[in-house]
């Protein structure tokens, strides 16, 4: 019962976040980029309920728009990684042979790096920017999905329904897409939930180091980095983007955990 409740709370937070991101231009009380040096580092006012930063920009508006960047980066990373991972894992698992060896050694090499290190190194040489962040995160992100898909296909490809499809003359791409893929969707969806949480944290880490989105575009990570210099005088600068980030990741982890438990309890 408690698990179900947490699942609903987590889902509600995610829906709220998605709605806030989509409706940001209407929900945000101010332009997130508009500076007002007369009102810098305000902790609270009726006009700025969450205060302002060193340039007098509204924290509430920047937090709402920052969620947009985090969610956009996370979803784009997960979708591109999923597409590459599914293609590579299917080819590797279904056809085997030298292609399998080649792809899996590539996965081994990429997994030999701590993920965030490779992303930091790549964005360091390519330069900051949301497209470079997504590229760097996808480069490491697809490997996990490829491993998962390959493993599942290896366990499924000799099952009766696949053999029957093969005997009926189905082409490999049809067998993969119509017969194997529906069985892969639940574990992939769960991994994508955790992948989204990881991508959001990674984007935050890169932005925190100044390698993510370029200023003045708001992102939770860059807001935390900006606020770090004012911890003593204006702790609210780090509190709100930090809370938003934590609740988003927490919600994704809760939803992912619950779905995983359900899947495991159904697996014979």
């Amino acid at each position: 019962m408690a698990t179900k409740l947490w699942f609903y709370i987590g889902s509600a937070i995610l829906i709220l976040l998605a709605a806030c991101s989509l409706l940001a231009p209407w929900l945000a009380p101010h332009d997130p980029l508009r500076q007002n040096l007369d009102k810098d580092l305000v902790a609270y006012s009726s006009d700025h309920p969450l205060g302002t930063d060193k340039l007098g920009r509204d924290i509430l508006s920047r937090t709402i728009y920052g969620g947009r960047i985090s969610l956009l980066t996370g979803i784009a990373t997960v979708l591109i990684s999923l597409a590459i991972g599914i293609a590579a894992g299917s080819l590797s698992g279904y056809f085997g042979g030298w292609l399998d060896q080649l792809l899996m050694r590539l996965v081994d090499i990429l997994m030999a790096f701590p993920g965030i290190l490779l992303a930091i190194a790549l964005t360091a040489v390519l330069g900051p920017g949301i497209d470079h962040v997504i590229l760097a995160l996808c480069l490491i992100g697809w490997t996990g999905y490829a491993r998962l898909v390959r493993g599942e296909i290896l366990s499924l490809r000799e099952r009766e329904f696949v053999q029957a499809a093969r005997c009926l003359g189905c082409r490999p791409e049809r067998i993969i897409l119509r017969h194997l893929m529906p069985n892969l969707l639940p574990p992939l969806f769960i991994q994508a939930t955790f992948g989204l949480a990881a991508a959001i944290v990674a984007e935050g880490s890169l932005s925190f180091l100044g390698l993510g989105v370029e200023p003045p575009t708001p992102s939770w990570g860059s807001m935390l980095n900006d606020g770090r210099q004012f911890l003593l005088v204006a702790p609210h600068l780090t509190t709100y983007p930090g809370l938003a980030l934590m609740f988003t990741v927490l919600a994704l982890n809760v939803v992912g955990d619950t779905l995983q438990e359900r899947l495991q309890s159904r697996t014979p």
Partner: protein, 307 residues
């Protein structure tokens, strides 16, 4: 065991070579002229030419790769653009600080997670269990780039118990180690709890109880000892992750280790130094994984990797 060692070593070599090659390629991915990016547009043509020659960029790519590997085999990773001395000597000087932080973070994670996971498994479904799982979930969801400033506000600014930043005595270590170790503790609680719950239903635990052994002895000698096997893998894998995680933690707390050095090198566009730091962390990570595999096989001879 010998055959197993040789098999793992043969698998390690291409992975290591792949990781090294990737680090070599990194500098060549810089858009435009890498030398101009490193020195800036205002540098003179002579300076650019001198750097191009010293980095070997004036030679064909394959020749550069060959000398990169040859130099690497003799421990030469190049020279920093701004700091005196070779990249290897700069890294050597900073390594103790990172290792000290990573070890302390690991010890902090073990001290927090082991008792919590054991109590959670013993009192499964109770409030301790629920608190342990909540702690684990929160620990996994709190990014260290927020946790660090948060701990700084509470312990350094509000309470004044610890220094804000820098390296010194134990008090300097407390906050960075806690920041770096919390994520690891969260994972360990989950793994150890699940592992203990799996072990307590085994026949040998039932037999130990049936023999009339004291409950403490059953838990310590039969349950914990076997449950620890799965934790060892996670522990060493996480240690590799701690080295990467140190990039952010060391930056927050101005800890003078490899992590901060990497970030500073990125900010000053000192790419030979960035290359050296990434190479150091990546190869340590690969080697730690290799040693883990060997250790695992040594501790539990039942482990098989298809050998």
């Amino acid at each position: 065991m010998k055959q197993f060692f040789i098999r793992r070593l043969l698998l390690l070599l291409p992975t290591l070579l792949g990781a090294v090659s990737l680090v070599f390629v990194l500098v060549h991915l810089i858009p435009g002229d890498p030398v101009e990016v490193m020195l800036g547009e205002t540098a003179t043509a002579a300076d650019k030419e001198a750097l191009r020659r010293s980095l070997g960029f004036d030679r064909p790519l394959l020749t550069q790769y060959r000398s990169f590997l040859l130099n690497l085999s003799s421990g030469d990773v190049g020279r920093s653009l701004y700091e005196p001395g070779s990249v290897a000597s700069i890294i050597r000087a900073r390594l103790p600080a990172t290792l000290q932080l990573a070890f302390c973070a690991m010890i902090a994670a073990i001290l927090v997670s082991f008792p919590l996971a054991m109590l959670a498994a013993i009192r499964r479904g109770g409030w301790i269990d629920r608190s342990a799982l909540t702690f684990s979930l929160l620990g996994l969801s709190l990014p260290n780039f927020w946790l660090g400033p948060l701990l700084m506000i509470v312990f350094s600014i509000q309470l004044g118990w610890t220094p804000v930043s820098g390296r010194g005595g134990i008090s300097h270590l407390f906050l960075p180690a806690l920041t770096l170790g919390l994520g690891m503790a969260a994972i360990l609680v989950r793994i150890l709890r699940a592992s203990v719950l799996q072990v307590i239903h085994q026949d040998y635990v039932r037999t130990a109880r049936a023999k009339g052994l004291k409950e403490s002895r059953v838990w310590l000698k039969h349950v914990l000892r076997n449950a620890l096997l799965s934790v060892i893998t996670i522990l060493s894998l996480q240690f590799g992750g701690l080295l990467a995680g140190s990039l952010i933690t060391e930056t927050i707390f101005s800890w003078p280790g490899i992590g901060r050095l990497t970030v500073q090198a990125i900010q000053t566009r000192d790419y030979p130094l960035v290359q050296g730091c990434v190479l150091m962390i990546a190869t340590s990570y690969v080697l730690i994984n290799f040693v883990t595999d060997l250790l695992y096989k040594l501790i539990d001879p039942r482990v098989s990797y298809g050998d």
